[in-house]
């Protein structure tokens, strides 16, 4: 008898996981590629898009060669559990075998898809992290320096946060939660992007003074792909096509809609006009804010998170990042606000709003009722989960700030991190010999 798949494989979960991974991949290419390409000045459209395109390709190579196992493989330091062993994830036996995360396997059901699916699913998350980080550096970072930075940051920085929270590492053993990457992805990208922006240096002053988007319609196309792609981002993280995947998708959209509306309201009340760029930022802040909580809160919690992400990152972007102190750092797209602050906010709100009735997995016997999280609201004011969330955030912030600083200082010894002013004045044509729009080409 010939069988289509091993007995452990569930076709529904495998299909959903591959589809969810593809959704997340589409968020990067073309989602962020065209979002960045549209949001920047015309002369920077191609370089910005290319930074994202390059990162997607470069991350995949280091991911299968060693970074996947550093993030999700067996522990390199079993007593510390902050990093996995740098091993390839490429052999036939490995990629077609049943997926498992060695240190987390005891706390979840056996996975019902092959390792290849898990490697690809986690790759698209890794790739989008460094692409989000790129948003802080648009319009001046040397492409050569970016080419070196991406794989090194992936290996030395991303893997530590991913292993600590998702690979069964020390933060997860302690009890910290990050459903889909509020900390591992967005807080890490926001902090690292801000530190990188400080070290690389600012855009030309002329570009800082005038950086109007070259195509808001193109940016909206990217934003739309980003939004709906988030259904795979958060819906894929239970690793099963189960009830919690549905809850995560619904919550993602509740928060995002509320956040977008609140951000537009804030723009209208305090800046005088409802802005399309503001709506995109509100959308992103909502998507990011619900990410660490999507499968742990009910839809009331999702609504509250949406109100918070429509206000607090708005205040940070419009009031705090516009102060003299923060203006010393040129965070091109305000990644610190829309990803760093929103990711931190969502992660902390898990410690308050997580409803234990929202089960990620069903538990029986001594494991009943199953995998869930209890925030202060549902746990007689017990702050334990909130403390775990604060501790995990502190680690991610400090580690990313230090590692990104060191990494760029070392790279800066060998190549210039910032393009020279003559190249910055021209943009795409000087760097790539190409321009985004050629209306005279026939």
């Amino acid at each position: 008898m010939i069988l289509p798949s091993p007995a452990w494989l569930d076709t529904g979960s495998n299909a959903w996981q591959l589809a969810a991974a593809t959704f997340v991949g589409l968020q990067s290419i073309p989602g962020l590629v065209v979002l960045y390409g549209g949001l920047v000045k015309k002369k920077w459209a191609l370089n910005s898009a290319f930074m994202a395109l390059y990162a997607f390709a470069a991350v995949m190579v280091v991911w299968v060669l060693l970074a996947y196992n550093m993030a999700f493989g067996p522990s390199l330091f079993p007593n510390l559990n902050f990093l996995g062993k740098p091993l390839p994830a490429m052999s036939a036996a490995f990629i077609t075998g049943q997926a498992t995360i060695p240190l987390a396997a005891g706390g979840m059901p056996p996975l019902a898809f092959p390792m290849a699916t898990l490697i690809f699913f986690q790759f698209v998350f890794a790739a989008i992290t460094v692409i989000i980080l790129a948003g802080s550096l648009l319009g001046r970072m040397s492409f050569k320096a970016w080419v070196i930075f991406v794989p090194l940051w992936m290996i030395l920085d991303y893997t530590v946060g991913a292993f600590s929270l998702w690979g069964g590492g020390w933060l997860s053993q302690w009890g910290a939660q990050d459903f889909s990457g509020g900390y591992v992805i967005h807080l890490a990208a926001g902090v690292s992007g801000f530190v990188a922006a400080a070290i690389v240096g600012p855009r030309l002053q002329a570009d800082r003074d005038s950086f109007a988007p070259n195509s808001l319609l193109l940016a909206l196309v990217g934003a739309g792909i980003l939004w709906l792609g988030w259904n795979g981002f958060n819906g894929g993280d239970p690793y099963f096509a189960n009830h919690d995947a549905g809850a995560a998708v619904l919550n993602t959209n509740v928060t995002t809609c509320v956040s977008l509306l609140v951000w537009v309201l804030m723009d209208t009340l305090f800046n005088g006009k409802p802005s399309i760029v503001g709506a995109i930022n509100g959308m992103i802040a909502g998507l990011v804010g619900i990410t660490p909580a999507a499968g742990f809160v009910d839809s009331w919690g999702a609504l509250i998170i949406g109100v918070c992400t429509g206000i607090i990152p708005w205040v940070f972007m419009n009031k705090v990042q516009s102060t003299k102190f923060f203006q010393r750092v040129d965070d091109t797209l305000g990644v610190l606000s829309t990803h760093g602050v929103a990711g931190l906010l969502g992660g902390l709100l898990v410690g308050v709003l997580a409803n234990p009735a929202v089960l990620e997995y069903i538990g029986t016997g001594k494991d009943a009722p199953g995998v869930s999280v209890s925030g202060m609201l549902y746990n007689k004011g017990d702050p334990t989960q909130l403390i775990h969330q604060i501790g995990a955030a502190a680690f991610i912030i400090v580690f990313n700030a230090i590692m990104t600083f060191v990494l760029l200082r070392v790279i800066g010894v060998f190549v210039k991190l910032r393009m020279d002013d003559a190249t910055l004045a021209i943009g795409d044509d000087a760097i790539h010999g190409e321009t985004a729009y050629n209306f005279e080409g026939g």
């Binding site: 995360i101 933060l171 997860s172 302690w174 001594k366």
Partner: protein, 110 residues
């Protein structure tokens, strides 16, 4: 998911009837002791074997302190509060860590 109320009640009654040593739900006698536990949601009852002399729980190394006993098993961290009998199990999963809470009492004989 329906909670089997009858099983919960039966398990609770059974545990309430277990032998007692001193005051409190978890006054653990010296040497080897059996601890009866149950899950308050499912009513599932199970037991642990504590050996305070060799500092082991179910044969695994454990840390015996005045307020708690902690050990690791099945990829998770177990913490037994000696005053309340509350057993907290913290495990890592693919999205981070989570805790489950069971309740325990000392049994009369090992």
């Amino acid at each position: 998911m329906r909670i089997p109320v009858a099983r919960c009640v039966l398990a609770a009654v059974a545990l309430a009837g277990c032998g007692q040593h001193g005051s409190g739900p978890l006054a653990i006698p010296p040497g080897v002791a059996r601890i009866d536990c149950f899950n308050p949601v499912s009513g599932y009852a199970w037991s642990l074997r504590l050996d305070s002399r060799s500092r082991r729980v179910d044969g695994l190394p454990a840390v015996f302190e005045a307020g708690s006993i902690t050990w690791r098993a099945d990829g998770g961290g177990y913490g037994l509060d000696r005053a309340t009998g509350i057993l907290t199990i913290t495990r890592a999963s693919s999205t981070g860590g989570y805790s489950a809470v069971d309740r325990c009492r000392a049994h009369s004989s090992p």
